[in-house]
């Protein structure tokens, strides 16, 4: 069954080159000794230094990290409990609720951003508050939770139904069952969801753009402003750093997955009495 798919492979290779070429260009020119983003004049780390000295960038980075961490953790809590609640609902309630839950995921993010902006502006006019960190945070939590739920619910369904009965058989109340048995079992789902939600928050631009107002800036908002006005290789430096971080994260996630996969295979083998 040896088939040669050389044509397809070459095309695929070219596509990957297409995907990575601009990124490579970005990275290369982040080390450029002049301001030019197209003519190479020499190696330097200056732009990285400037990056760390740039107060605006640093503060918006801090904002981004703060918002993302808080939002994803809060979302994880809300989302996990919501998932458990949904799991126990009658189908006729669960279906529509899950659909509503999916709206932020499915909707174009400009609409999510704009609709939330409308809410905050109208409510703000009536109740006397402005767009700012709180509204930003609320917006992030709102679009983070669906990812948690999407990640946790399948895990809930994979649970052995007998676990509940076993725990209660041994004397746990419902709440104890949740804390002692269910959450530990679905923890991988929660963590995965958390990571995804965190990444979504860090990466978000459009929704933050509409809900943060003028006093608060996330990193993406700052980058946007920079690309619109002052083009500087600092942006290249940010890109390179981000690329490195994402690469490391993905490798870690992948290693976790393949380790989990191996554990599952071992479990199956044990059940079949082969190990």
């Amino acid at each position: 069954m040896k088939k040669k798919y050389t044509g397809g492979r070459i095309f695929t290779a070219l596509t990957y080159v297409f995907l990575y070429a601009p990124i490579i260009v970005l990275i290369v020119f982040s080390f450029n000794s002049t301001k030019s983003r197209t003519i190479w004049s020499g190696f330097t780390l200056n732009w990285y230094k400037e990056l760390f000295n740039d107060n605006l960038i640093m503060s918006s980075l801090q904002t981004t990290l703060t918002v993302s961490v808080i939002a994803s953790v809060v979302a994880a809590v809300i989302g996990t409990f919501a998932a458990i609640g949904f799991y126990n609902m009658k189908k006729k309630w669960r279906g529509p609720l899950l659909t509503v839950n999916n709206i932020p995921v499915i909707n174009a993010d400009i609409i999510t951003g704009v609709s939330l902006a409308l809410l905050f502006i109208s409510a703000g006019a009536a109740l006397g508050f402005q767009l700012g960190f709180t509204t930003l945070l609320i917006a992030h939590i709102s679009f983070d939770v669906p990812y948690i739920i999407l990640s946790v619910m399948p895990k809930l369904y994979q649970l052995d139904r007998n676990l509940f009965e076993a725990a209660q058989d041994l004397g746990c109340t419902w709440f104890q069952t949740v804390y002692k048995v269910i959450i530990p079992e679905i923890l991988p789902g929660i963590i995965n969801g958390l990571l995804i939600a965190f990444t979504m928050s860090v990466d978000d631009f459009v929704i933050s753009y509409f809900t943060a107002g003028s006093s608060v800036q996330t990193l993406s908002m700052t980058i946007y402003a920079m690309t619109r006005r002052r083009i500087s290789p600092e942006i290249n430096a940010i890109s390179t750093l981000l690329f490195a971080v994402v690469l490391i994260l993905l490798v870690i996630v992948n290693m976790r997955e393949s380790r989990q996969h191996k554990v599952e295979i071992k479990k199956e083998k044990m059940l079949k009495g082969l190990v």
């Binding site: 601009p22 609902m89 609409i111 704009v114 609709s115 809410l119 890109s239």
Partner: protein, 314 residues
């Protein structure tokens, strides 16, 4: 393993009817876990969308009107442009993405995972930065133009027209600030969203079905035409949706790669909510239309599409 010891108790939980009052309350207690979130959703998902609807049908004075929609006629070209460019981008993603998905699905599982990881890697870099990357490549003094200049392409072209008195010599090709640049940006950003669902569906095709086709006399071209392609269509539909929807609603790509000269629906909406021309009513009307487009696409996808879980989660 004896069947006699199996539990006779009926299973409680999902959607079963309850027999005692105690069970009734137990059931609601379990459900109550979700109530906080339900309230949250109502506040921050449902109400905002209702607000959009309200604003869309109200005028600045607060009266019910269709005026916002009729005012959109002026912007028909923007609608057309957005739909057309999104369509182009989708088609290109399909033409590039399908062969790549097919090629990946034919690799060994280990290689597949690496290839998929490599596709997802750029997706995780902020798409502002990815789009920005193209700026320095496409600009008038960007990499491509500099390359052409250094090999003398422009001199050669100018030389061809030397005799023409009305000819102004060129120093660059206009790559940036064109609709082409915007489409390129869309394709670059959304290509992985086409590749992933298609690949995930093709990989799930029962290998025995392919063997059965070969067993019945089909060579590899026929196998692709009659088996693989028809069975991959659900992934294709997902991919199309996952490219078209963001493409039709973006404003960043057009802002960065065309400086707003190529105005898309997204730019239009953004303008209504920020900046000088503040008209949330018009903006909501346009948003409403966009939501309708998105809902149509999404329902097509959920009925006929498959393999989108991969892409959504990523």
């Amino acid at each position: 393993m004896s069947r006699n010891t199996q539990s006779v108790r009926s299973e409680k939980g999902i959607g079963d009817s309850w027999r005692t009052v105690k069970e009734f309350f137990e059931h609601f207690r379990k459900q109550s876990f979700a109530y906080p979130y339900v309230i949250w959703m109502g506040l921050f998902v449902v109400i905002p969308i209702i607000l959009i609807g309200v604003y869309a049908f109200t005028s600045a004075e607060g009266t019910f009107t269709f005026g916002n929609f009729s005012g959109m006629i002026d912007y028909a070209p923007v609608f057309g442009r957005s739909l057309w460019l999104a369509f182009l981008a989708t088609v290109m993603c399909l033409l590039i993405g399908y062969p790549v998905a097919l090629a990946i699905s034919r690799m060994s599982p280990k290689t597949q995972r690496i290839m998929l990881m490599l596709i997802m890697l750029p997706m995780w870099i902020n798409f502002l930065l990815r789009t920005y990357a193209w700026m320095s490549i496409l600009e008038n003094t960007g990499l491509i133009n500099r390359f052409f200049a250094s090999v003398g392409v422009f001199d050669w072209i100018n030389g061809l027209h030397a005799a023409d008195l009305h000819y102004t010599p060129i120093t660059h090709f206009q790559l940036i600030n064109t609709s082409g640049a915007v489409v390129l940006g869309m394709v670059y950003n959304y290509l992985p969203f086409m590749i992933l669902p298609i690949q995930s569906v093709i990989v799930k095709i029962d290998p025995f079905v392919i063997e059965a086709a070969e067993d019945l006399g089909a060579n590899s071209r026929t196998v692709f035409r009659k088996i693989i392609f028809p069975l991959s269509l659900s992934g294709v539909i997902s991919g199309i949706t996952m490219v078209f929807v963001p493409a039709v609603s973006t404003f960043v790509i057009s802002k960065l790669l065309s400086n707003g000269t190529v105005m898309l629906l997204g730019d239009l909406i953004e303008m209504q909510f920020t900046g000088a021309a503040y008209n949330p009513h018009l903006g909501s009307a346009i948003s409403l239309i966009m939501m309708v487009i998105v809902i149509i696409c999404m329902s097509v996808m959920s009925r006929f599409g498959e393999g989108e879980e991969q892409a959504v989660v990523m």
